[in-house]
Every structure is written in structure tokens, then in C-alpha cells.
């Protein structure tokens, strides 16, 4: 099976001369959920920004469906949606209008858009909130808005950055169910989070970043072996992998 996302020997950061991440390599296949984990400042957000195409690699490459952003900008951009760590919203648009805008940006048909929005609003309990402005939303509601926008498009790749903070328990459950559903239909998901128990339970593979480098990667069994801690929970493995002095 062809991978959806291929990150190959990626080195980069905000300035060419001073890379923040080094030699990052991992792939996301269809039907796969990959957990990107690491401490604050480990390079998770920088890695994600490179995948989004917001930063330029000084070495290595990022490919989605085997194409780089430069080779096919529109195809690259339409293949994924992104849920940012903190909601990025238009103060001038209501919830509904944000969704319309997303649908237009990704070229969804009106009919498809309407078919998909109703269940999403239902699922996240936002049906009566569709005409309110972000100003009047709580952090959790804004987060839900971001999630609904991302899942509305049904792309082949989801890039989800720390989605659980601010969400209520039902919202978290809805999000996880949606992710599983999309995974089962063949999408790939790259999720970064600090909630290790959730990551352990839902992700098929893990990428442990530390100090801008990959410390371990693979299935749970594989990273347990890399840490020399067979059978240990992800929590402990993660702690072992990141506790050393080079922070």
C-alpha cells in the first residue's frame, strides 16, 4: 500500500542556519493513526508546520501521496485538514459560516456540505450554536468548531495538534469516535498529544521526539524494545526515553 504521508530525513526550523528538528523520518499509511509525542519544545509543532508547508525544509522532504508541496501545491493542500493546537478563528464569521468557508475552500458541493454538517453539529452538540460568533464561544466550543471544520472535508490525511485540551468529556469521545471512523474508511491520522493514555489506546504507531530528533518510532512493541522495556505502558516508556540530561 502506498503511504499517504512520507517525511524523509527532514531537517528544518524557522531559520535555515539554525535547524530545530533533525533527520525526522516517518510515514503515515492509510488506515493508520500515528501519535507524535514529545515534551514541550521537542519539535512537534515545528514538524507539523513543515508538513503543513508553512516552513521550508533545509534538508529532506515531506510528501503527501508521493508529491511535495512544490510539485503540486493544490493537490498537496487539498489532501489534508488541520486542527490547530489553539483555535484560529475569524471574528467576523459565525460557526456556520466558518464551515461554509471551509467547504468552499476545499471545493465541496453544497449538497455534500449539507449532508455532512448536520451529523457533525449533532455529534458535537452545537446545533443551536451555529449562528453565534467566536467571541461568544468558550475555548471548548472554538475547539469543536475547528474539529468540525477539519472533519467536514473528509480528506485522506488529518493533522491534529493537541485536540483534547478544553474539550468536555463527551467532546473528546466524539472526536475519538470520529477519528476511528475516518481511519476505518482509509484515512491517515497524525495526532500530537500529551495525553499519553489516549494516544496509547488509539494510535497504531508512535513517533517519540526529543530535542528535535526521533528517539524512538514504530508500534508500541517496537518502541518498548527500543527503550528496553518490553511490556511496559507507553507512559513509562516515554518517561524512560525522555528523562536523560540533554534537554
Amino acid at each position: 500500500m502506498n503511504p499517504i504521508l512520507q517525511v524523509q530525513d527532514l531537517t528544518g526550523g524557522y531559520r535555515k542556519k539554525r535547524p530545530v528538528i533533525h533527520n525526522i523520518t516517518f510515514t503515515v499509511y492509510p488506515h493508520e493513526m500515528v501519535g507524535l509525542i514529545g515534551l514541550n519544545g521537542a519539535g512537534k509543532s515545528t514538524t507539523i508546520k513543515h508538513i503543513l508547508g508553512l516552513l521550508q525544509a533545509s534538508e529532506g522532504s515531506v510528501r503527501i501521496h508521493n508529491q511535495t508541496l512544490e510539485e503540486a501545491p493544490e493537490a498537496y493542500r487539498s489532501s489534508y485538514t488541520y486542527v490547530p493546537e489553539s483555535p484560529l478563528v475569524y471574528e467576523d464569521l459565525t460557526l456556520w459560516e466558518h464551515m461554509e468557508l471551509t467547504a468552499m475552500a476545499y471545493g465541496l458541493e453544497r449538497r455534500v456540505f449539507e449532508e455532512r454538517t448536520a451529523p457533525l453539529l449533532e455529534e458535537f452538540n452545537m446545533k443551536d450554536k451555529r449562528d453565534i460568533f467566536p467571541q461568544h464561544m468558550s475555548k471548548g466550543m472554538r475547539q469543536k468548531m475547528m474539529i468540525m471544520n477539519a472533519f467536514l472535508v473528509q480528506p485522506s490525511l488529518y493533522i491534529i495538534d493537541e485536540p483534547f485540551v478544553g474539550l468536555d468529556p463527551i467532546g473528546i469521545r466524539s472526536l475519538l469516535e470520529l477519528m476511528v471512523k475516518m481511519k476505518n474508511t482509509g484515512a491517515g491520522i497524525l495526532m500530537s498529544s500529551h495525553i499519553l493514555s489516549t494516544v496509547e489506546r488509539y494510535c497504531d504507531k508512535f513517533v517519540v521526539l526529543h530535542g528535535g530528533r526521533i528517539r524512538a518510532a514504530g508500534t508500541l512493541a517496537e518502541i518498548q524494545r527500543q527503550a528496553g522495556m518490553e511490556g511496559a505502558p507507553l507512559d513509562d516508556v516515554f518517561y524512560e526515553l525522555t528523562k536523560d540530561g540533554d534537554r
Binding site: P73, R77, Y82, D92, L101, M104, A105, F113, F133
Partner: protein, 404 residues
């Protein structure tokens, strides 16, 4: 202990410094030149008006009306911030000197406005009154006292919780001001009217003193301050990018829903966004104001050249103001994420500006017919409207956007 007065001085100083920073850009923008020309032009028309205006024309009504607006209006600049709801709330009882400074500060600005308006209408006033005109200095002192009383009253009214109540107070004050000012400008200083005024003032004093025992309506003050800041920033924004301005968003369904009529297509993504932004930002009211003013001015000018010139000037003013649309969401994140070409954003801004200029050109054209007289201007005006709208948006504005 918190030094309240020093806090006020700091905030006022910070704002003044920021405001002065913008004056440099305003001076560089050619606005000064425009104002000089506008001043010379209007001075010319003004002197012509004076020659033609019969001495029997009751211009004092207009003068009294203008002053009634200036004296009733005006809001105290408090320099409050949102976080004050947490941090200054506990010291409310000691805020007296802070707010006094605010009232003084606001009064100084309004005193200047009153002085300028008085200078402006002075020729009209003496033209109409002749020998009966009161001395300028006495009028000024009287008006300033009236302004101060109004400002103090306004400050106390800000304590009212109900917006309806605040509006009624303003309206009553306006009626009283209008009456006082009309007597002043038509009759001059009359002993009976001054005594009536004093009685009125004493009653108002007791009323407002009772009102002053209410606690301060913090949220309303903060909201008002933010609104005034937003107004300042949107003014400054016409000359230079203002980074941290907060836009006041209004729902305006009637306008915003009209935007839903753009086809639900990928290429219209940014048309949709900028249509909504236009409908909900301060741009739409600006557009409507200029349109109404334009209609009045074009309709009231008699000669053909004047009509066409006014038509063009109003349209170009609108274009300049509309072009600030380009600064909305200039650095927004999603632009880089959406699978839509980057240039689409620029093209959408250009198109929204073009469409709105065309709309205004069409509306203003109706005023070219008033009063109807056949002539070359009937053909020329729409031509100018269409060509200028196109040139301004698709050539000048697009060019400006491409530089960046």
C-alpha cells in the same frame, strides 16, 4: 497601595505617544494636501454663500442645531482596560481622581472643537445678526460652560445600567441644549432666559448628584473605551497598518446574508470571506454614510461641473476607504492551508472593492438627475463612475497588493 493618578498619567501618556506615532504617517499620506485643497475650496464656496444669502434667512437654527449636537455628544475617555474589571474593581472607591482627570482631558478636546466650530460659523452669525451679534469671547465662555455641565452629566449617566435609560437622558439633554442654544443664537444673552437656565441647572444638579451615588458601571465604561479606541484605530488604519486593533463585529444579517448568494464554488472562497467582512466591519456603515452624504451633496449642487466633480470625489473617497479591506486577514493562517491559490485572496479584495464602488456609482447617479436638466453630465457621470471604479480597483489597488 496603588497610585491612581499616576496610573492615569501613564495610560494617557502611552496613548498620546501611540497617537503621535500615527501622525507621521498621516502627514506623509497626502491627506494634508487634500485637506488644504478642501479648505480652500469650501472657503471659496462659503464666501459665495455669504454674498448670496439674504440677511433674513434664519441661519441661527442651523447654528444652534450644530452646537446642540457638539455639546450633547462626547464621551469621557477613561483609558480603562478589560483587566481593570479584575484589578481596579477593588479600588473603585479611590478612583475619583482618575476619572476627574479623564473628564478634564475630554473637556480640553471638546473645547477645541467648540472653538473651531464657533470660528467657522462666526461669519454666518454676524452676517445674520449684524448689530445684535454678541461678542465672540462671551459666546465661547458660555458654550464652554454648557459643555462642561453636559460632560459632568454625561459622566454620571454612564452609571445607568439600562441602555434605554442612557439614551433617554441623552435625548432630554439634547432637547434642553437645543432650546438654550436657540435662545442664545437668536436672542443673545437675555436676563430672563439666563435665570430660567440657572433654575434648570440647579434642578439638574440635584438630580445628577443623586445619580452619582450609584456605583460605576465598569463593563459599560470598558466597552465604551474599547469602542472609542476601535474608532481611533480604524481612523489611523487608513494611513498605516494598525496591528492590534479589535474590530467590532456586527451581525447585520440583511447584508451578510446577501453574500451567501455568491456561488458555492472553490474559486469564490475569499469572495465569501471578504463579502462577510465588508458587511460586518466598520466598512459598510462608512459606505452607507458616504453614499447618503454624496447623494445630498450632488443633489444640492446646481451646476453640471460641480455635480460631476462631487460625484467623482465621493466615489474616490469611498474607494480609498474600501481599500482598507486588504488589511483584513492579511496574515491569517488559513490562507496558507486552504487548497486555493494565494492570489485568490488579492483578487477577491479587488473584486469586492470594484463591486461596491459600482453599486455606489449607480446609486449616486440618481442624484445627478436632481434637479433634472438635460446636459452632458447625464452621460459623463456614469462613464466616469464605471471607468474609475474599474481603474481604481483592478489597476491601482491590485498594483498596490502585488507590491507586497
Amino acid at each position: 497601595m496603588m497610585d491612581i493618578r499616576r496610573l492615569w498619567n501613564q495610560r494617557m501618556g502611552a496613548f498620546t505617544k501611540e497617537a503621535l506615532g500615527y501622525t507621521r504617517y498621516i502627514a506623509n499620506s497626502g491627506t494634508i494636501m487634500f485637506l488644504v485643497f478642501a479648505f480652500i475650496g469650501s472657503a471659496y464656496y462659503y464666501s459665495q454663500l455669504l454674498d448670496k444669502l439674504p440677511r433674513t434667512y434664519p441661519i441661527e437654527w442651523l447654528i444652534a442645531f450644530l452646537f446642540s449636537l457638539l455639546i450633547t455628544g462626547g464621551t469621557v475617555r477613561t483609558f480603562l482596560k478589560e483587566a481593570d474589571l479584575v484589578f481596579l474593581l477593588p479600588v473603585e472607591a479611590r478612583m475619583g481622581p482618575y476619572f476627574k482627570s479623564s473628564i478634564r482631558y475630554t473637556f480640553v478636546f471638546h473645547a477645541v472643537y467648540i472653538f473651531l466650530l464657533l470660528l467657522a460659523v462666526w461669519p454666518l452669525y454676524t452676517h445674520r445678526m449684524g448689530e445684535r451679534a454678541e461678542p465672540l469671547v462671551l459666546l465661547l465662555v458660555y458654550l464652554l460652560m454648557l459643555k462642561l455641565v453636559n460632560l459632568l452629566g454625561k459622566w454620571q449617566e454612564q452609571r445607568l445600567r439600562e441602555q434605554g435609560a442612557r439614551i433617554i437622558h441623552i435625548f432630554v439633554r439634547w432637547l434642553a441644549n437645543a432650546a438654550v442654544l436657540f435662545v442664545l443664537f437668536s436672542q443673545g444673552f437675555m436676563a430672563d432666559s439666563i435665570i430660567a437656565l440657572l433654575v434648570f441647572l440647579v434642578a439638574a444638579f440635584f438630580y445628577y448628584r443623586a445619580l452619582s451615588r450609584e456605583s460605576i458601571h465598569w463593563e459599560h465604561l470598558v466597552w465604551t473605551e474599547n469602542r472609542m479606541l476601535a474608532r481611533f484605530y480604524s481612523f489611523a488604519n487608513q494611513f498605516v497598518d494598525v496591528l492590534h486593533r479589535q474590530n467590532k463585529v456586527r451581525r447585520r444579517s440583511w447584508a451578510a446574508n446577501a453574500v451567501n448568494r455568491v456561488a458555492f464554488k472553490q474559486k469564490n472562497t475569499y469572495m465569501y470571506l471578504y463579502g462577510k467582512v465588508f458587511a460586518r466591519s466598520e466598512l459598510l456603515p462608512m459606505f452607507l454614510r458616504l453614499t447618503v452624504i454624496g447623494l445630498l451633496i450632488i443633489g444640492s449642487i446646481q451646476d453640471e461641473w460641480g455635480k460631476v466633480a462631487a460625484y467623482f470625489i465621493v466615489l474616490s473617497l469611498t474607494g480609498t476607504q474600501l481599500s482598507t479591506l486588504r488589511q483584513h486577514y492579511r496574515h491569517v493562517f488559513w490562507t496558507h492551508i486552504y487548497p486555493v491559490p494565494l492570489v485568490a485572496r488579492r483578487e477577491a479584495v479587488v473584486r469586492v472593492v470594484f463591486v461596491m464602488m459600482l453599486v455606489q456609482a449607480a446609486v449616486l447617479y440618481t442624484a445627478v438627475f436632481v434637479p433634472f436638466s438635460a446636459g452632458w453630465h447625464l452621460m459623463t457621470a456614469p462613464l466616469i463612475g464605471i471607468v474609475f471604479s474599474y481603474m481604481y480597483s483592478f489597476r491601482m489597488l491590485r498594483g498596490k497588493l502585488m507590491e507586497k
